[in-house]
Structures are given as C-alpha cells and as structure tokens.
Symmetry: D2
Subunit: 312 residues, 4 copies
C-alpha cells in the first residue's frame, strides 16, 4: 500500500478515464492498460471515479469493481485518490470506506448540487467528515461550473481549520487565479496549515497556477507526460522552459477543455495512443462524428510536428 494523500502531495495526479466497451460494459482489460499507460508517463498519483470518470453513470457495484481493479493494477506504486461524490451521505461513506480498505490514499468530495449558501457548504463537509472519521484524507473539489456551488476563500479556510483530514484542494473555479493566490496568502497570514493544491480545469491555466502556488495538476489531459515534465521543470525552478513545453500542447489541451465533448475527445486520444481499446462514453454522452475526428487528427498532427521541431 502506498502512502496516504497529505499536505505534501504534489505533482501530477492524473484523472483517470473509465473505459467501457462498445456495449457500455466496464472494460477491465482496458483499465489495466490505461493504468499502465499513466504509470509509464510518470504520474505521481491517479484519481479515479471523478466527474470526468463518468462516476455518476456507474452503479454502486461497478464503482467497487473498478476501484478494486485499479488498486490491484497500481499495486501501491503511486497513491490513488477516489472520488466519492454522491447525493446520499451513506453512499459517500460506503465509497470512502471501501476505497480506504482497498488501499486508497484518500478520497475526493465535491459538494452536492443543491447547496445554496456557504454555511450549507460548511455544514455539508462537517457532516460528511463526522461520518468518515478523522483518518480518511480528504480532497475538497471546488468545481462550481459543474456543481453550481460556490465557495469563497473564507469557506475553504474555515474547512481547513475545522478538518485536519482536509489535506488537499482540487482547484477548478474559473476564473480562479486570484482565488488560488488568496487561499495561499490568507492561509499564511492566519497561520493555517499549508494544504496541497492541485489545479484542474483541464490544465488550461496551469503555468499561471503553478506560479501562484499550486503544487501540481489534477486533470485528465491525454498527454500526461507533458504535465509531468512541466511540474518537474517548475520544481527545478525552470519556469520559462515549463511554460514553453505547455505552450506546445496548448492548442490540443484547449481543445480537450470543451465541457462534455472534451471527454469524448480525450478518450479518443487515449485510444489512439493505445491506452484503451474503445473510446465510447456511456450513454447518454457525446459521440464524435467525422468532422470531429478529422479536426482531432489535424490538431494531433500539428502537435507532433511541433514536438519534432522542438526536439529535432
């Protein structure tokens, strides 16, 4: 079993896709090859059952089956974070406890969709935390574009103060650059723990986020090696080179950033790269048409030409 998620977690926690076959069944063989792909690319951790992992479309049994398969394949080589967002507390608790007993490094929780005020957000996390106990490391996913729930910096810091097990923020408010800076500045000014912040939103603002205090990325871009390289360069203080690398991939990364169809593009790219056998999303979900595929071809070819030029 690998180490638990902690305030020191950093680098690339790739958001794993969930592979299905043409009939929409979980594809467990592709789960293995996908995990191998991510590990070969050098990721620091893997996050499964996130929103981009189509988690709400899985049954409870399927979630457990997939979780188990991933854990077995990873076999402790990197930490695995498990998404546990669900409308019912008891299902949140069940997923969390199953994940931890299978060796997960921690769990990730977004607020349920019908919370209206920040008081409600705080109470939501407190009540879930009471169910989970103090021992399960928690990542707060701040993703208002998807959940409709907004958190101020104050709310995030109140939760950091109240919950020692809250060790990570998945930062994906948009626009969110100033918010990231404020979390860092205000946390320091108040003498709070410095938690890990990993940037989401497809990585669209990753260089800026790294400079403002992110510790890495938690996103699912189909070229994880770029994210890995970037984070390493940032670690070595070679920020400009890191941004150079990022800019190379930016046209494609921006293309994947499109909400909804972006996941279909990402899975198709993973398929082309040999990571999974079938790119289909579970229905309902977008399917790529001929024009989408040709456009993706063109963007990938441009990237390859650019990389060849850069490296050649």
């Amino acid at each position: 079993m690998s180490a638990k998620m902690s305030e020191q977690s950093r680098g690339v926690y790739i958001i794993a896709a969930t592979p299905f076959d043409q009939d929409g069944e979980l594809d467990l063989n592709s789960t293995d090859t996908l995990i191998d792909f991510y590990l070969e690319k050098g990721v620091s951790g893997i996050t499964i059952l996130g929103m981009m992992g189509e988690a709400p479309k899985l049954t409870s049994d399927e979630s457990l089956l997939f979780m188990r398969r991933v854990m077995t394949r990873v076999n402790g080589r990197v930490p695995v974070v498990v998404g546990i967002s669900h409308p019912a507390h008891r299902q949140v608790a069940l997923l969390a406890k199953s994940a931890m007993s299978l060796g997960a490094a921690g769990v990730m929780l977004a607020p349920v969709a019908n919370l209206k005020t920040e008081e409600q957000v705080v109470n939501y996390y407190l009540s879930v935390a009471a169910l989970l106990g103090d021992d399960i490391p928690l990542c707060l996913q701040d993703f208002p574009q998807s959940t409709g729930v907004h958190c101020s910096v104050e709310t995030i810091l109140r939760l950091v103060e109240a919950l020692p097990q809250l060790v990570m923020l998945k930062h994906e408010d948009l626009p969110g650059l100033r918010k990231l800076s404020q979390v860092r500045h205000q946390s320091e000014a108040r003498g709070l723990r410095r938690i890990s912040i990993l940037a989401g939103n497809g990585g669209l603002f990753l260089p800026q986020e790294m400079r403002r205090g992110a510790d890495g990325a938690m996103t699912g871009f189909a070229y994880p090696e770029m994210l890995v390289q970037m984070c390493r360069l940032f670690d070595e203080g070679r920020d400009d080179e890191a941004e150079e690398v990022f800019d190379c991939y930016l046209p494609l990364l921006r293309h994947e950033f499109q909400y909804g169809i972006g996941l279909a593009l990402r899975k198709e790219t993973l398929r082309r790269r040999g990571a999974i056998r079938c790119a289909a999303l579970r229905q309902p979900g977008p399917r790529l048409d001929r024009e989408d595929l040709l456009e993706l071809d063109a963007l990938i070819s441009r990237l390859e030409r650019r990389l060849a030029a850069l490296n050649g």
Copy 2:
C-alpha cells in the same frame, strides 16, 4: 397484475414517500403501512421512486427491493408507476425493465439535468425509447424547477407524435397554467392523441389545472383523501364544491409546497397520521426543528377545526 398506464389514466396517482428508519435504512414494514394508507384513502394509482421519493439517494439494489415490496403489497389493486430517471441510459433501461417485469403499469422519466436545447430533449427521449422498446408506457415528467430543463409545448407534442408509448404528462412547470391549456388546444388542433395529464407541483394550482384539462393529480400531499374527493367532484361536474374542499386544505398544502423542507413536513404528517413509523429523510436532507413542528401542529389543528366546522 393491474392494467397498464394509458391515455385514459385519471384521478389521483399519489407520489409515494420512501420510508426510512432512524438509521437511514429502508423501512419495509412502513412501506407496507404507507401503501395501505394510500389505498384506504382511495387513490387511483401510486407513483414510486420519484424525486420526492428520494430516489437519487437509493442504490440500485435498494430501488429494486423497494419496488418489489410495493408491488407485492399493492398486489394489482391499482396501477403503480415507477420513476426511472437516472444519469445513465443503461440504468434507466434496467429500472424500467425490472419495474415492468414486477408488474408496474408504466414508468416516469424526467430529462437528465445537462440537456440544454429542446432538440437535445427530443433526442434524449427518442434514444431512451429506443432502448425500452414500444411496450413500456411512458410518462414524461416536465419539472424544470428541479431538472433545469425546459420544454415548450411544441417539444411535448413532437414527442407525443413520435412515441406512441408516451401516454402521460406529469405537468409541473411553474407557472404552467397556460402551457397546460396550450398542450390541450394545440394537440386537438393538430389531431393528435389526447394523452393523460396529471398535475404535480404539490397540487398548488390543482383546481385551475382541472378546469384547464388535467385528468387528475400526481403529487404527494399527505391528505390524499382531499385530492381523491376533489377529483371525484370534478368528474361529477361539481367544480365549485371541489374548489371549496381544496380551499380548506390550501393553507397546509401550500406549506408542504416548500421545496426541500416540504418533504420533511410531508413525511412528518404521514407519521402523525400513522402511515409510517419514522419521518426521517436520508441524509443530507432537512430535519424539522421545534419551531417547525409547532408550526405544523398549528396548521394541522386549524385544518381539523375547519373540517369539523364544514362537516359538523
């Protein structure tokens, strides 16, 4: 097995609560007493696993268990409609097929939450219908306050034309009175089938909806006997008396209409009336405090005094 849901379905299809015990477990004994309660009050049908039935908080197994228990208890005396709304098509299909094989009269489906255009709404229903086949009677739930998805009259009628199995509309757009009239008028003008329309939204506008062409109510008010009486009076052409009855209950009905806490009030009222043993919602969900309970006391007492005066 009772008759299937059809264009001729009318009267009160009560939206059944899902009873839990204090620990949040499904309470199957209360399920039996609740079903008995509804049947005693004279409902024409029962709808289970709707949004107000806390369906999104149940696991797939629990849904099947609850469905089976209800079917057994009802034992064909009235039609049972089963809510099958779910983010994944395959789960929609599984729920629908399980329901029908257990003797359901039909299924109810709301659009998934991320549909943006009406073209997408139409395609959503067409693709689900393709999965379900022609034999499963379908009720379209038009509830934009909860789903965020809006349907014009045109969209509803396109679906009526395209899908012979679409036999019922659960009407709960708000405001929605004119929309109900337009569905009736335009349907007739175009020579379409006249489908069954049952009014939701807690019944807040039920007398007006009956006059505009509704065939009954599909809602969960904790005094189903009032809805039953009203619909019978409307059937007999005694509209003014029906409205008189309605007005008696309106203060309490309006109180239950409050989204969120309304369900907690409804379950508490059902508990007081002996229909279920425990009023708790599954977490997360509102809990009544002392002030809420006293307020409910007062409203129920007022209703009882009024009924006594009316009948005395």
Copy 3:
C-alpha cells in the same frame, strides 16, 4: 416629508406597480390614482421601482419622473422606499441620492446578478454603502429566486453589524421560514440591533412569517386591505383571526404568486378595482388571454362570495 425608514418600520409596505398606457408610456394619472388607492387601503408605506414595478424596463429619466410623481402625490403621508438595484454603482448612487432629495424614506437594494460567493455579496454592499454615505437608510432585498444570489444568515448579520444604515430586510428567500427565525435568534444571541423584517414572496407564507418575527409585509398583492387588516390583528395579538382573514384570500394570493404572469394578473386586478386605467405590462411581458381572464373572474367571484359570507 415623512419619517425615514428605520429599525422600527412595520406594517404593510405595498410594492407599487408602475402603470403604463396601451402604448407602453408611463401613465402618470394612473400613478396618482394608484397611490390614492393604496393610501385609502391603509398601507403603512409604499415601495416603488422594485422588480415587480418593472424598474429594469424604465430609462433613468423615467425612473426619476415616476419617483417625483409618487412623492408629490404621497406628500409625506407615508414613507416611500425606492428600489435602486442596477448593474452600475454610479446609477445606484444616482437613484439613491435623487430619491432621498425628493423625500424618500430609504432605498432598497438587491445584489447584482453575477455575485458568486457571499464574500462578494458582503463586498458589494460595503462598496455601495461607501458611495451612498451613512445617511441613507437601506433595505437589503434577499430574493435569490430572481437574482440567483444566495445569502446565509451569517452574511445578513455581518452586514447588519457593518452597516448601521442597514435597517430593514426584505425577506423573500424560498423556502425561508427557518432563515427568518435564525436571523432573529442569532441576532439576539449576538446582541445585534433588531432590524425591521418585512416579508415578500407575494405574502404566500405571511402568517407563518409574522409568527416567526416578521414586522409586516412588503409585497404587492392587489388587495392591500387584507394585508393591512392581518398586520393589525397580529399587532393586537389576535393571530388566529389574522390567519382566518388570510386564508380567505389565499386562493387568489396564491394565483398572483405565479412568477411572471402573476404581475399581469395583479395589474388586471388593480385595473378592475379602479386603481389604474390599463393593465398592460411593458413589452416583453406576459399578456392575459381569454382563459386567463375567465379564471381570474372566477377566483375574484369566489373571494367576494366568501367575504360576503364572512361579513354577512
């Protein structure tokens, strides 16, 4: 000039409609008769240029013209509160200062629509307050169904603490009964000023709100005399009689509660009662059709029969 709005303000502050003629021009003669109508019915105050007053459809010049006409007609007999919500700070300030110089008792401000966090809500009010100075009494309009902006109890109390000129809350969150109680309880527990709370939302929950600590109503129901009578009965401790009166009008009040078309119904009722000459809304806005008008006829007739029976 009448007294300013204050923490002691109570009773019925009627939300005034803005009368237009058939061509959509401001109807200043009807403005006079409408004000006379409200005063005759015994309102304690008048609120103009609210959302239901179609304020966003007026030009800046029209707002000033209407404001001036109302002030002249009221002539200090009751306090007039002026809605100043607008996307630009400078326009908010201009409206506020114009209103006060014309003799308004205070101003009412809802948060602009794009505020996402409560920190932003607090900052919004602080920045407007800095522009307005300390001398203009302020009413906070908490109406998330229209603005999309949610405030917790904590946010409201922070503003009460920070801004001495914040003397009134227009309470129209929905459901909002518990929130009202919490504002009262927590305010008292923290030793804060007790501000005036007037209930909105068409008055749909007014008896419950009065019992939970509201000081009156700020809404536009077309039978202001009922609201006035109710508030007086509550003042005299005759709560049950107050609720009796309310229940009489509830079917019609609920009918007006329909967002959007409710305003058209309200203006038509005011027209029938002789308060204004033309019921038209400025375009775009709903128009009543034959079916709507017959339905309204029936509801008004029922009310009149009921009142006759009660008083007879």
Copy 4:
C-alpha cells in the same frame, strides 16, 4: 455612411471596449484613440455596446453619446454594428433606430435573460423584429454562458427563415463547434440563405471555427492585428499558416478568455498599447492587483519574444 451589414459580411468585427476615466466617466478622447487603434490594425468592422462593452452599465443618454462619438470617428470607413440588448422592447427599438439614423451598419441582439423555451426565443425575436421593421440588419448573438438562454440549430434556422433581415450570427455557444457545422450543413440542406457567421468567445476556437464555416471573428482580443492576419490567411487558403499565427498568441488570448477579469486584462492591455488612457471598468467590476499585473507582464513579454523569434 458605410455599407450595411449583410450575409456577405466577413473578417474581423472587433468588439470595442468602452473607455472610462478614473472617475468612471465616459472617456470620449480615448474613444477616438481606441477607434483609431482598431482601424490601424485593419479590422473589417467594429461592434460597440456589446456585453464586453459594459453596455448594461451605461444610461440611455450615455449609450447615445458614445454611439455618436464612435460613428463620427469611424466616419464610414468600416461598418459599425451596435449592440441593442435591453430588458425593454421600446429601449431596444430606440437604440436600434438611433443607431441606424447615426449610420450604423446593423444591430446585434441577444435574447433577454428570462426566456425559458425556444418557442419563447423565437417569439422574442419575432416581436422585436416587428418593432424594428424590415430595414434594420440584425445579428443574433447566441451566447448562453452569459444570457442563460439556449438555442438549438433548429431555432436559429427558423429565425433565418422567418426574418430576412437576420443576416448574421454571432456564434458563441460553448462548446459550439459542432453546432456551427450543423448550422451550415442544415441550412444548405434546406436551401436557406447562407448567413454570415462570426465567432465570439474571445476567439478561443477560432481556427477550428474558420475551418467549420465561420466567416470571421467578432471578439475583442487586444491584438486585433492577429485576428486580421489570421482571417486574411484563411481567405487565401493558407490555413496552416493562419493557425501558426494563432498559436503564437494563444497563451495570451486564453488568458483574456477568463470571464469577468478577462475584460480588465483586455483593457489594461489596450492601455499599454496606447489605445486608451485608463484601464478602469465601471464599478462594480474587477480591478487588477499587483499579482495580476505581473502575470500579464510576463505573458506579454513571452508573446513579444515569440513574435521576434518568428519574424526575426
């Protein structure tokens, strides 16, 4: 006076900022220099009083004043399109007629925010068109992220069929690439007029949109010369070179794409380039802090180095 907007309009219609001074007053001198800046960069047209032009924060008088100043400065050299979106029809009509009488080439209209169904969207445009008459060329702004109103391809094409004066679509649904293709394909399949489509959304997907049938861009990127060069290269069939140019600017363009603060970044960039004297937005609106400014410095420096390398 320049030619009217038409189905043949193409190239870059820059969305003009509205310059204010430090006190929030309209800065008419900067209006002149800004217009000169845009014309020097070679834009094909100018769009004023769009959402990014802070139009909702202007009074009616200020809108007319600004409109007049722009028209005078442009003096017929390029077509000027005027945004006329407003909650009241009569204000829409007033703005449109004023604009045309001052020599505008056409007007741009987004749906008002409270339209729920596409039927309502269609009726909204039909009723406005009835007010404006047939002679005012109309651009439909499809920007659901800002308006909350969604239009399907079908709705757009119905409007193209019904309204001969509808000659342009400002395409900024997101994701929207497939929608753009479908508008082109279905329009052709049905033998409809081919309207002009200009891409918005900050230009984030401009190369893909040009390949899918856009005729140019309508956005406010602070380096209009890039957009101009790109469109020219696309016109010459040099698509790959066009995309090369685009990719150079993409990091900065993506940075401006941030909703809200993006406008503050854009105005600051325009200020640095000498186009306007003061970068301030009217309040309420975001202000750049030190960290934002340093980040912008770095992005602009990177761009300049890249351009130097490319051209050197």
